[in-house]
Symmetry: C2
Subunit: 401 residues, 2 copies
Amino acid sequence: MLLVQKYGGTSVGNLDRIAHVAKKVAKAKAEGHDVVVVVSAMSGETNKLIEWAKHFSPTPSKRDMDLLLSSGERVTSALLSIALNEMGYPTVAMTGRQAGIVTDDTHTSARIERIDPKPLRQALDEGKIVVVAGFQGITPDGRVTTLGRGGSDLTAVAIAGALGADKCEIYSDVDGIYTTDPRIEPKARKLPKISYDEMLELASLGAKVLQNRSVELAKKLGVVIEAKSTFEDVPGTIITKEEEIMEKPLVSGIALDRNQARVSLQGVKDRPGIAAEIFKALANESINVDMIVQTIGHDGHTNLDFTVPQNELELVRRVMEPFGRECGSIEYDPSVAKVSVVGVGMKSHSGVAAKAFETMAQENINIEMISTSEIKISMIIDEKYSELAVRALHSAYELDR
Amino acid sequence: MLLVQKYGGTSVGNLDRIAHVAKKVAKAKAEGHDVVVVVSAMSGETNKLIEWAKHFSPTPSKRDMDLLLSSGERVTSALLSIALNEMGYPTVAMTGRQAGIVTDDTHTSARIERIDPKPLRQALDEGKIVVVAGFQGITPDGRVTTLGRGGSDLTAVAIAGALGADKCEIYSDVDGIYTTDPRIEPKARKLPKISYDEMLELASLGAKVLQNRSVELAKKLGVVIEAKSTFEDVPGTIITKEEEIMEKPLVSGIALDRNQARVSLQGVKDRPGIAAEIFKALANESINVDMIVQTIGHDGHTNLDFTVPQNELELVRRVMEPFGRECGSIEYDPSVAKVSVVGVGMKSHSGVAAKAFETMAQENINIEMISTSEIKISMIIDEKYSELAVRALHSAYELDR
């Protein structure tokens, strides 16, 4: 097999851990696999560098930040290469540039435009383990860029795609994706397999493991991901195409997002373009609107509800002020949460939504907003019922079995 | 003027010092100069990285070491660029690669093969301060290399040469080149100007300021260097072509090298090739032979004296063993020192050497070996007379005036 393995900052957080990672990589090679390893900066290093930059400027140029921050991954890749060499494994350590990763010029959150797999393939053909500094690339004209949050995952997925790797293993201190947050529901089970789309919808469960950007890229490139633990030698969760999952469970998991606040506009004048104006104003301030629900108007008036990140509510209030005249009333509720039931199985089964609403009713939890997609039912509820709702739904869909 | 300024590890040793360097660079720019700044890694960083590498392997691959060690200069260049930007000066931070520095593939001590000055010149034409990560380059096929000891000085001198800069200022915690070591002779004076050749011969005085490799490169490229203090705003020492120095002093300085041991072969069979064999054997062990003196043989026998670094004497003993049969006797003296009188003026003046020997005689210091070049007289003496010899010569040539 051709494996791409990615080890995050905690996994390479000190010299002992890098030695541990070297052993894991060596084992995969010794088992006969071709291995490309992608590493992050040692945990703490990137924050230290950011602090140093802030010492000089509250708004350092993004180009300089890229040059600064890309140094951390270089250190880890060189150290891991040295460790593997000492164990008798020939290696090549590569920067993002050397690994052929070309990005656009959006400094600090560049997009990978293409990968020239030649240098990687040549090193693999020579029997070497390739150790790549994650999180970084260069622009076509040679400037150093970084890929933003979760950037090393992107590097790994993109390389796996470019090489047609059999699997991209993402190692972290979390051993997979669970049916729900085990801190809320101790009966949560690790999912053996999950589809890309489910993973995207379960973002709040998987955020610590894998950013949505990487899942989207994996979906696009058809890269099979396994989210695994660096520290425990147990199977993780496979993230793959829906078609690869034989037994599609009705529901795969229950996600919870507490960083939600609800804005309710009642009695909005039902004229064309009003919604567009409101959401444009919010977008101009880079406010990420999540759920939007509009109920059909009568008497030329309509109700419009939407949710925003809780920590941006004050900014939202200011943006909404000019719209006060056109709305009968604007209500803000900072203490709501979004509970989502996710599963590809619900595409072909009816009654999944009904069970969710029924479960909420049984627990006397009022549903303030509902939004559904093909594979997800999301409900906005009072934040204080969050844990109760998650546990009730987890049990209702028999996810603990 | 077009200035290249280089700041060493101590000069950028912490965030406050980087801020101080930013002020110095800004001042030069504000005075109307075009400025390229070359920076080293923050002092301590390189040693930390070397220690980390040694944690994994006593003999890490040089290629990996280059990737590892080149990260330190990137950090400093990004931080200095951020600091200058915040002060309102537009900058471009560049890696060795981006600055167009192409080297051979001798990892950890690569030689600069060429510099493509286009990116540097373009940035300067745009009115920007260019901040270059020193010590590093890339091979024609794109591998990261470092230039070895004094590498950032080499970067600065090479860039100054490629751009035809008016001056290359080398900043460190030493404010120039002195007539001799001020710790030995407090009356030592700072030299306002010195020729490349004198600087090369005074290596032991200038080693903390500038490695010989950089002086040789400056001589080759005709780059005028000024060795200056980062921390005191006083003129330093200009290192330039002999022709640029109007008043050539008879003697510029007195150098002392304590790391010397003497090997004396007496009654060596005077057959062709014997010296070659001995020095080849020493070269095979990378032993750096310094002075060599052979006296004309009689009776088919000759005397051969040479000096080696004191800390390599044990190795020398082992290498010399097989030659014992051909030599009447081999003597080793670990406690000698080399005192050198250096000055371009002595080319055109007689009596300089005589005065040196006379001075030694007056102080009752026995001269064990003598070696002369056009601009230098070196004497091997008992180490215990080192300071006395330096002070006596310093005074004899009136260097304290």
